[in-house]
Symmetry: C3
Subunit: 273 residues, 3 copies
């Protein structure tokens, strides 16, 4: 039996209005057998980086052939282009504003087309709801098997955002930043073990972690390792350093959130390896 | 291949409790192959008009044959009737409180049945959760192919709500109202180009827009046309005048929301056309 | 036609992050034809009892064969065991922390297996996201037809939580507690007609209901029976006494919520029956 097409939706639409429902209607009208999966609709409003992070955390767990539609689109109605990006396993539909940047960085086989063929759009195209009029029908026709090249010319000058990278302050310290606070109050940072190998050694006596001016407990392996009220670091499920607490909100305890500095300081030279 | 039945759900249940999940279980127990689509569950609590607007914005994008179930039901447990409404392309299941008023107004071919045949209900019928005990099973049996007339007699005295209409204050001004603020803080009004043809002419020098006492910038074509912090009007994707800002919340900037007056004033007679 | 497998999801993940989307991806990657149903993702964070109540309210409405996955998991990364529980009609996947306690109590045919067979897990297993790495794949393989015994040994020492039970204060009064406030501000209590048969007699003149120190109106049959602003009791759709108001929030009017005392007092001996 041929597998039904799967389309995921990621947006900053929230769930208060008809937006998500309308988009699903448009898709099902074109490809009624599609399975539509809400990846997340609570991306921070207009926050392209937050959309990129949300998508990057989840997309690779889906079956090959999945179409991922991502609409965080502060430039709706302007000249920014709608895109179809194709990787080895997936197809992506999104505005050309960098929301696919982490896909571009991680995927080796990548082709990007400018979706300009208007006969795939809903007509008339509104100036304010391209998710309904452009992105949803393009995603639906992709899921139905229309080849990416049918939607428009291949391009290479698509927008790539730079994720904020940790900075080395000196030989023994690294400064990262909080990318977001999640539902549980965990603070996701941009620091990975690749940039700070000391993170691979939980319990390392030499490692100090500061969030803003405030020092938290060192690195542990799981939430359950923390004492009540203690704030500490773990390497989380996405591979980034997270500042967390055991059954409590680190964000609330620290009064910290997106954009806060997170410093790793080695009080003595790290041992080799 | 026969298309699987599609059922959409619109309610004021929110997502904090088991209500939506329970309704889905009831439907799937009757028609396991159904595709259930959440249209929106964040209609303002007990707000029949808000439910009517949410449904009206989305329903027509779905494939023909879709069953739309709408439960905003402040009168649950009272004598208000459960309805099955049938139009050319869709079937609707809802309480008889006016939540289908915009459907009644827009659809030419319309038949309404009072769903009174209790053998389609879950028994015993609770006094507080008719979505589970009455509306969900009726929607499921409809999706399964049971004819509307099987559920009860056809009626014509169903409840129709009047949407608040804009009022002409004098020859050169029109007063509308804010119907709702959406997730982005856009203020949806009840004014359309049909009632105010000047809205078809963005950039019209003569048009002033006031929200309460406060004048905002004139009419533009898209969000992207607004300067930072500027509040202005657009004709939105639903065909109504909306008061918006570019990547910001007009509701927050103005401190305005549902029920605020919105006045259109022509400072000189409109040109013909 | 063989019925497609249905998997429901209940969690405290909220909808702000990628968590729910990622879990769905993992499931669909293993069993692409599965129908995934969100039962509720707004269980109070780390609140196992709230998860148990949410699941208990909804699970039995689903078709036989449904797999219910429940992840409220404050002990993630600790030694608590992942479980597969099997009843006459359903399969459950959850951490062994008592979140299935109401299932254990209600279902007569029950077998519980410790899901320890790591070849069903995603590898490497993170310390912080077992929903993705353990529970989702186990649920998916169950839905695909893998027998519960394949996941690990049968056990009988699984964790059972005691739901708070009402206490008899004296011959004429019973003290219960508020289990939760729902989206509408209804206060769900732990008192049922089994424990307080007087609840089966709405309008009983002798029954007084107090929430904390404050007396509310007596027992009615439906929301619609209440006057504006009046707070009163009903036996709700889950079979528990609820403290409610007609189109208003009892929680807000009373300033009451989870954990508040609710006293039933009979001002004279109840009549027989």
């Amino acid at each position: 039996m041929a597998q039904r097409p799967i389309i995921t939706l990621t947006s900053d639409f929230g769930l208060r209005d008809h937006f998500v429902g309308t988009v699903k209607g448009v898709i099902l009208n074109i490809v009624p057998e599609a399975e539509i999966v809400d990846l997340c609709h609570s991306v921070a409003a207009f926050d392209v980086l937050d959309g990129a992070l949300t998508l990057a955390a989840a997309y690779s767990y889906f079956p090959a052939g999945t179409v991922h539609m991502v609409v965080v689109d502060p430039g709706v109605g302007s000249a920014r282009r709608p895109l179809v990006a194709t990787t080895e396993r997936y197809e992506f539909v999104a505005p050309d504003n960098g929301v696919l940047s982490l896909i571009y960085r991680r995927e080796e086989r990548l082709r990007v087309h400018w979706a300009s063929a208007q006969h795939y759009f809903l007509r008339p195209v509104s100036q304010t709801f391209h998710a309904r009029d452009i992105f949803a029908p393009v995603a639906a026709y992709l899921a139905k098997g229309v080849a990416p090249a049918k939607f428009g010319e291949e391009i290479s000058d698509f927008v790539r955002l730079d994720l904020p990278r940790p900075q080395r302050l000196d030989n023994s310290s690294l400064r990262g930043t909080v990318l977001k606070a999640d539902h549980f109050g965990n603070l996701l940072t941009n620091i990975t073990p690749q940039e700070a190998p000391v993170l691979l050694q939980p319990g390392s006596a030499g490692l100090r972690i500061l969030v803003g001016e405030r020092e938290v407990a060192g690195l542990k392996t799981s939430y359950a390792d923390g004492a009540a009220g203690e704030v500490f670091g773990i390497v989380g499920s996405m591979g980034y350093l997270e500042i967390v607490a055991n059954q409590a909100s680190a964000a609330q305890i620290l009064g910290a959130g997106k954009g806060c500095n997170v410093d790793l300081v080695l009080s003595r030279p790290a041992v080799a390896g």
